[in-house]
Symmetry: C2
Subunit: 250 residues, 2 copies
């Protein structure tokens, strides 16, 4: 998140050479938060419960700070299905492990089903930014959000595995047929909570590997690092365009 805020500061020409961009949440080791101009960059840990805690607290913060017209974008990494590693996926719908676009929230022991729709105009604007950048492939597609990285994503290399390579392939191919382009672990609750709060939201994740071809990362550290910068570059371009448009109209 610090790398992103440094990148954004440079892009927006808001760099302060003396600034070290302090972690605003330094009092806790649970999250880190950085700010430059109107941009806030927050870490969220791994998985639905971790990002949900952060979002509850961030949404309260935005409310008390009286922030208006907030756009919130999750950036991160994911496993791709049938895509060249390094492809960036802008999420159309976040789907569960049965490919349904829903998030099940347990409240007082009862399951409540929430919608995981994201802002389609925002997704299209992000895709447009990628076209203008012309640096890497970007697609719009469904993102499967799972509670588990190993068994939950049909990996064969966890501590336990009760299925075969064929079972794995069959499952991932079914996912692809349902429009799933990538798999990660936070988009469903992110989409659901942003929708409930009326926040304009998007999910932009780079794929680090093609899960149809394996479970482990085969690219070099250098290549993986360059892949991880792609969502930052794409979202950086979008933020810059938004702020320039705002400057013109205001």
């Amino acid at each position: 998140m610090k790398a992103f805020i440094e990148y954004i500061a440079a892009e927006l020409e808001m760099e302060d050479p003396k600034s070290e961009y302090p972690n605003i949440c330094a009092g806790t080791d649970r999250y880190a938060m950085y700010k430059v101009g109107p941009v806030l960059s927050v870490s969220h840990g791994m998985g639905i419960p971790s990002i949900a805690i952060m979002l509850h607290e961030l949404i309260k913060l935005l409310y008390h700070a009286q922030c208006k017209d907030v756009t919130i974008i999750r950036i991160g990494t994911s496993g791709g299905i049938g895509l060249e590693p390094g492809t960036v996926v802008v999420t159309k719908q976040s789907v569960d492990a049965t490919f349904q676009p829903k998030f099940e929230q347990v409240i007082l022991g009862k399951t409540v089903v929430r919608n995981t729709d994201l802002d389609q105009n925002l997704a299209e604007e992000l895709l447009q930014c990628s076209k203008e950048l012309d640096q890497f492939e970007t697609v719009i597609g469904n993102t499967m959000c799972t509670l588990d990285f190993y068994e939950g994503q049909a990996r064969l290399d966890g501590a336990f595995c009760s299925y075969s390579e064929k079972d794995k392939q069959d499952y991932l191919i079914k996912a692809r047929e349902a429009g799933v382009c990538n798999i990660e672990m936070e988009s469903s609750v992110f989409s659901a909570m942003c929708k409930l709060s009326g926040l304009r939201a998007a999910v932009v994740c780079v794929t680090l590997l093609d899960r149809l071809k394996g479970d482990q990362l085969m690219s070099s550290h250098e290549v993986l690092n360059s892949f991880q910068k792609r969502p930052q570059i794409l979202v950086g371009c979008f933020i810059k365009k938004q702020l320039m448009a705002k400057a013109v109209t205001s």
Copy 2:
């Protein structure tokens, strides 16, 4: 985790005044791991998905390192139900949000139910350590493990809340009647994965507040810090006893 390994090093008289106890997982910012003598201390992030990833990788590590007779104990904090804040709970059974002792793992889109039993002898040994220490109250009871900190634990102070104070109280009282002493977010998958792997496991969490009386921490930072040390002190005492018994028999 570093504080714990420093504490254990002192307890076991294995301190190296020059040692800084390096983070063995320094290559990633996802987890931190420290080691002194036969004791490994690992962070796990927040929530079931985060601890599950760590456990898959730790279980593989223990297997390849040919570790034998491993005991694994989760230490942490929790919300208590009807207990004086600062009470330590050693988990008897980890139960879900409907108070059932089970963990639902989704594999290839299908739900598999796993057992969350913990080692009852180990729990009794830990309780015995607390009696010998005689520094704070410790009880054995059920621990409710939820996927969400706010709505999932009937808190009234999240970004969303669709229920009343009375609904919350009714739910927490039902939980208490089902033997639930405390609520946290990792014990179910921890219990299930340890049981599947044949690892002797326990969960030891201090309660930071009584959820029947409120949702926010009311104790001072100083008091909360002292509460957070209690699971460390209890598990430190247990480790010391185990190693002394081993030294006598070997």
